[in-house]
Amino acid sequence: MKTIQLSNIKKTFHLGGETVKALDGISLTVNTGEFLAVIGTSGSGKSTLMNILGCLDQADSGEYYLEGVKVNQLNMNALADIRNQKIGFVFQGFNLLPRTTALENVQLPLIYNRGKKINNPTQKAKKVLDMVGLSNRINHEPNQLSGGQQQRVAIARALVTDPSIILADEPSGNLDSRTTDEILFLFQKLNDKGITIILVTHELDVAEHAKRVIDIKDGRIRRDYEISHRRYITA
């Protein structure tokens, strides 16, 4: 099943008189259950691509089909619903709400959920926190958690609405190498369960934990290849 289909996506920014072509004709297909890494240097367009895939921003031209629905022309409210139900975000800076417990943070997307009603939000939140291995920390606030633990809360939050894809933007950028491995192991585990994951990074060895790599430069796909020797973490 084609989860994502991008056709000739273009996006231009106008910053202080200068015109920047962030994306210059990207076409991409992602199937269900794939584990994709998008790699590129700063300014390559990978963040813009991420924002468009995540419906946080809209392309100037081209088409974006998400699970068969044409997304790039939808209104603000419809996009919000898609972000809520179909996409799970994981950010480099974790982006958890301060002075709010892990449990409350994970439940946030459920407050705005307008799709299929979830009967016991607290139960669901506890379940995903268990999936990321944080059952004994659900009442901790971010300042009481390590970087790795915070990122795991963020991943649990991304999972709580059962999204179609997880979009992770430099998820290990703020973590040391051991914690990075823990996080990548988690992504690997989720993908083994069948969740589609797209990971954006500038580090090749992080990218090699995925199954497929897209190399972006100057707003275009330079290379699109399968990883032959994947870095697979065993428990």
Partner: protein, 405 residues
């Protein structure tokens, strides 16, 4: 369900910053407390005045010289209207709506008893006066028709005068001098206390009207006439009767204004309370300004709050919050803030009102309508002043917002 959660989220962020939230709503608290206290005291003192004027005598009508219309046609150059004893007789005789009428001849004087002396209001009245004005006798008796006929030199004293001249004694039967004229004390009035307008109702001496008129005054000037209507329902007819009778007596032609003022209790009450009402409204307007400032304070803090939480808002939008969700959340926060201020203001205002009421001896009346109005007002302030910041928050760009430090 979702609304409940938004309220919880809003409450959480308000409680996170307790001190700041409290300072923000201070303006609202002060504004509402002032309005509630002012109106409660204002209504209370109005009720005090009303009940007191009512206790002056039911169905009381006061007649005094002068024209009701200030720019009416005067009755001729140089004429100053006079009330006379004849007028009192006419009113009593010719109106079936009047139960009693009495003249009032004011002869304030020095009263001497032995070594003590006291300057007091001395008033010449007839035997009906105590019934018109609800005065009771504590000791001795009031004067009778014979005293009036004979212009007797007898006096009935109020409690304050007794305290000054005869402390701890029964003065009935003793001799006093009023304007150097010897009088005999024949009665003492029951205590009435201080009026809400500040004067001592027990600082009074009554003498027969004829005695005051012919022995102590010019022999013809009656200062006021007090009458009582048979019942409240015939009050208007009673006033009309009096006007008609006096116009006839004073030979006022048609087309010229009355030369007397005829006022009943309701008019007196409204005259007196007009000042109180105006004052209350003025002060409430000032308190309203305080409320406005409170609202601006809320808007200010909400704007700061939105800026501080730009990243947080960006995250929420990324997680799927619609612009209306963000708008609602911040509006609810603003309303909770102003509503808390309103409730605290109402409680504070009620406490202040009762406290001050105790101190100045005034009644306090808390009108439930005022409370509901105040609550409605604070909610409106919250919505009005919270809308702009909430809207700003709702339309933030999530990508930029999440990058905000």
């Amino acid at each position: 369900m979702k609304l409940k959660q938004l309220i919880i989220v809003s409450l959480r962020s308000i409680i996170r910053n307790k001190m700041r939230s409290l300072l923000t709503i201070l303006g609202v608290i002060i504004g509402i407390a002032s309005v509630i206290a002012l109106v409660a005291l204002g209504k209370g003192s109005q009720a005090d005045i009303e009940s007191e004027i009512s206790s002056l005598g039911s169905n009381l009508i006061m007649i005094r010289p002068g024209s009701t219309k200030s720019h009416g046609v005067k009755g001729g150059a140089g004429t100053k209207s006079c009330l006379s004893m004849n007028d009192v007789d006419s009113i009593s005789k010719f109106s079936e709506n009047i139960s009693y009428a009495s003249p009032l001849i004011k002869v304030p004087s020095q009263i001497i008893s032995g070594n003590a002396n006291w300057y007091s209001n001395v008033m010449g009245v007839n035997t009906f006066y105590p019934m018109i004005r609800n005065y009771d006798i504590a000791l001795g008796s009031f004067f009778n028709l014979r005293h009036i006929k004979l212009k007797s030199k007898v006096a009935v004293l109020g409690q304050t005068v007794v305290d000054e001249l005869f402390p701890g004694q029964n003065p009935v039967g003793t001799r006093i001098r009023i304007r150097n004229i010897p009088f005999e004390v024949i009665g003492v009035l029951s205590e009435k206390g201080q009026s809400s307008m500040g004067h001592d109702q027990d600082d009074i001496v009554f003498v027969p009207s004829t005695t005051a008129l012919y022995r102590m005054s010019d022999g013809k000037t009656v200062h006021d006439i007090m009458a009582s209507a048979v019942s409240k329902s015939v009050m208007e007819q009673a006033k009309d009767d009096i006007a008609r009778i006096l116009r006839k007596n004073h030979r006022i032609p048609a087309g010229i204004d009355d030369d007397v003022e005829i006022r009943d209790q309701a008019e007196i009450i409204s005259m007196v309370t007009q000042v109180t009402t105006t004052l209350t409204m003025l002060l409430s307007a000032v308190a309203g300004v305080s409320l406005l400032v409170g609202g601006i304070g809320i808007m200010n803090i909400m704007l700061v709050s939105v800026t501080e939480r730009t990243r947080e808002i960006g995250i929420l939008i990324a997680l799927g919050a619609r612009s209306c969700d963000i708008l609602m959340q911040f509006l609810i926060e603003a309303v909770i803030l102003s509503l808390s201020g309103g409730i605290m203001g109402i409680l504070t205002g009620i406490c202040i009102a009762f406290g001050l009421g105790e101190i100045i001896g005034s009644q306090v009346i808390v009108d439930p309508a005022m409370i509901i109005l105040s609550i409605g007002f604070t909610v409106a302030v919250g919505i009005f002043f919270g809308y702009y910041p909430a809207r700003k928050a709702a339309f933030l760009n999530p990508v930029e917002a999440m990058r905000y430090e």
